[in-house]
């Protein structure tokens, strides 16, 4: 895989009420119609969705539901790739990534084949379901393996373009979908997008954290850059924007996941990094996603306090 960043194009036109999961299913079903190489592998999750059901009726050999067998789902996706197909495997993040981690490592990585993995659930989307359905560590797990592209869309309109682009390659691609979303979509170029410019630290907001970051920084002079592709990270953009050597990372998954990337990018200059993200803790709590944002310090008030303290 090359180190160049993917150029994925503009946000796609989808209805404003569509969720990221709906946007994914629509785009995947279109791909099944258009590209005979594409096959979707499911483990019951999303199998009942009408677009997938319709695609399964029309292309029964390429919409494959293995039942509640996530390890098989991921291995079978690897086996499909070995036969020359372009597999898309999809389930809840903890089952797709954590339960089947060795299958990802060995049946894509070690076999030398690619595939597209698309999760829902994120860090605490189904907060009422509790910790069994949370996957704050998924992106960190992909960091244990070489050459995965990781997309963290912040809006449903940021889903279809990267998925279509990924289907045209043989790359290893992970898409982390969430029910948390920003009010407006942004371009999906693979590069950092500057949302506002200021004098203080560079604040990098990843995916659905952007709106909270904008609220948190409303009264202060900082540069806010938005990332919805985090691997490969836009190192060039980071170096160009981190004028002060002070970087605040706000990530909707495990806190500090991208600290290593920032440290490597700025190795040749003095720098400080503040990492804000999901804490390494099982809270044993339910509530709403907004409650979890507050408990983990990803709410606007806490982000604001931590940036103020860091910049002092």
């Amino acid at each position: 895989m090359t180190t160049s960043l993917p150029h994925i194009g503009h946000p796609m036109k989808v209805p404003d009420t569509t969720t990221m999961r709906d946007a994914f299913i629509d785009a995947a079903a279109d791909l099944i119609d258009d590209d005979p190489r594409v096959a979707v592998v499911l483990a019951d999750i999303s199998n009942g969705h009408e677009r997938f059901a319709q695609a399964a009726r029309e292309h029964p050999d390429r919409v494959l539901n293995v039942g509640i067998r996530e390890a098989l789902m991921v291995s079978a996706a690897g086996g499909l790739a070995l036969s020359g197909m372009r597999p898309i495997a999809h389930s809840y993040a903890p089952f797709l990534v954590e339960r089947a981690y060795e299958q990802i490592k060995l049946d894509f990585e070690h076999q030398g084949v690619g595939g597209i993995l698309v999760s829902v659930g994120a860090s605490y989307d189904w907060s009422q379901g509790g910790y069994t359905h949370f996957s704050p560590g998924d992106v960190a797990l992909f960091d244990t393996m070489p050459d995965w592209t990781v997309h963290v869309p912040g809006h449903p309109k940021e889903v279809g373009g990267p998925l279509r682009a990924a289907a045209l390659t043989d790359d290893k691609v992970y898409m982390r979908l969430s029910t948390l979303s920003n009010a407006a979509p942004h371009q999906t170029t693979g590069r950092l997008s500057v949302i506002k410019s200021g004098e203080g630290p560079l604040v990098v907001a990843v995916g659905p954290t952007l709106d909270n970051v904008l609220l948190a920084t409303a009264g202060i002079s900082v540069t806010v850059a938005y990332a919805n592709t985090v691997r490969p990270f836009d190192v060039e953009g980071l170096r160009a924007l981190a004028h002060t050597g002070e970087v605040v990372l706000v990530e909707p998954y495990l806190e500090g996941t991208s600290s290593r990337v920032v440290a490597e990018a700025l190795i040749d200059r003095p720098h400080r990094t503040l990492a804000i993200g999901v804490k390494r803790v099982d809270l044993h709590k339910y509530g709403t996603p907004t409650d979890h944002e507050r408990w983990h310090g990803l709410d606007p008030a806490t982000i604001s306090e931590r940036i103020a303290s860091f910049a002092r």
């Binding site: 039942g67 098989l72 079978a76 086996g79 499909l80 790739a81 070995l82 036969s83 020359g84």
Partner: protein
């Protein structure tokens, strides 16, 4: 990669294996006759056709002790027999578990148990989706490897969906810690597979088992073998 190699016969295999490993590593031998029969009589495959979409596939799931596998690949011209003498060294393509990116003829990288059959399920689905109805996928597992639950995910799904282009051969050398009361074959037939039990040393019986699929579902062969080098 183009590989040229001398060809060897069955009687040469034990000599080739001892070039890879010390003979005291006897477990090599429990798979030898099944591997030979596959490559000598059953697989529609040759060193010149490793990229052919229409070839049969052999997935060695039980990647441990691959000396017999390497010996058969060398005997059939997939790799130079000189590679056997350098196995496990720093620059060798032949290691303690086969790596498909290094070994011509190794269709999968294996070593961690319980991956070959789930991979084969995906490949079987992929071949079917591409209209490639002729090739079969043969998967070799060990009886102890069946302990891994991923095999049972794959067995249930392949049986339920009638995935008729897969043949599993389980080489049973009695090494599963808790055994398989009622027999291994029954695990497959209960899930909609056909199954044969054969003497894992008898090439005619092995061949008959490997050709015993009926075209209506996946097929399993249990080959009883003990180490005897």
């Amino acid at each position: 990669m183009t590989v040229t190699s001398a060809r060897f016969g069955y009687d040469d295999l034990r000599g080739l294996i001892t070039r890879v490993v010390d003979v005291k590593h006897a477990p090599e031998d429990s798979t030898l006759d099944v591997l030979w029969t596959l490559y000598d009589r059953v697989l529609d495959l040759s060193p010149e056709r490793l990229d052919s979409p229409d070839r049969d596939r052999f997935y060695l799931s039980k990647g441990h002790n691959p000396g017999s596998f390497y010996a058969v690949l060398a005997a059939k011209g997939y790799l130079p027999d000189a590679w056997l003498d350098e196995a496990f060294t720093a620059g060798s393509r032949l290691g303690g578990h086969p790596d498909r990116t290094l070994v011509p003829g190794a269709e999968i990288s294996s070593g961690s148990l319980g991956h070959g059959l789930p991979l084969a399920v995906g490949t079987a689905l992929g071949l079917r989706a591409q209209g490639l109805l002729k090739p079969r996928i043969y998967v070799l597992l060990g009886d102890a490897e069946l302990d891994e639950g991923t095999n049972h995910e794959a067995m249930a799904y392949a049986g339920a969906t009638g995935l008729d282009n897969i043949t599993v051969v389980v080489v049973d050398n009695g090494s599963a810690s808790h055994g398989w009361p009622g027999g291994i074959a029954s695990r497959f037939t209960a899930q909609g597979w056909s199954a044969s039990e054969v003497d894992g040393r008898d090439h005619d019986a092995i061949e008959a088992g490997l050709r015993g699929h009926h075209g209506t579902g996946p097929h399993a062969v249990v080959a009883f073998a003990t180490s005897s080098i």
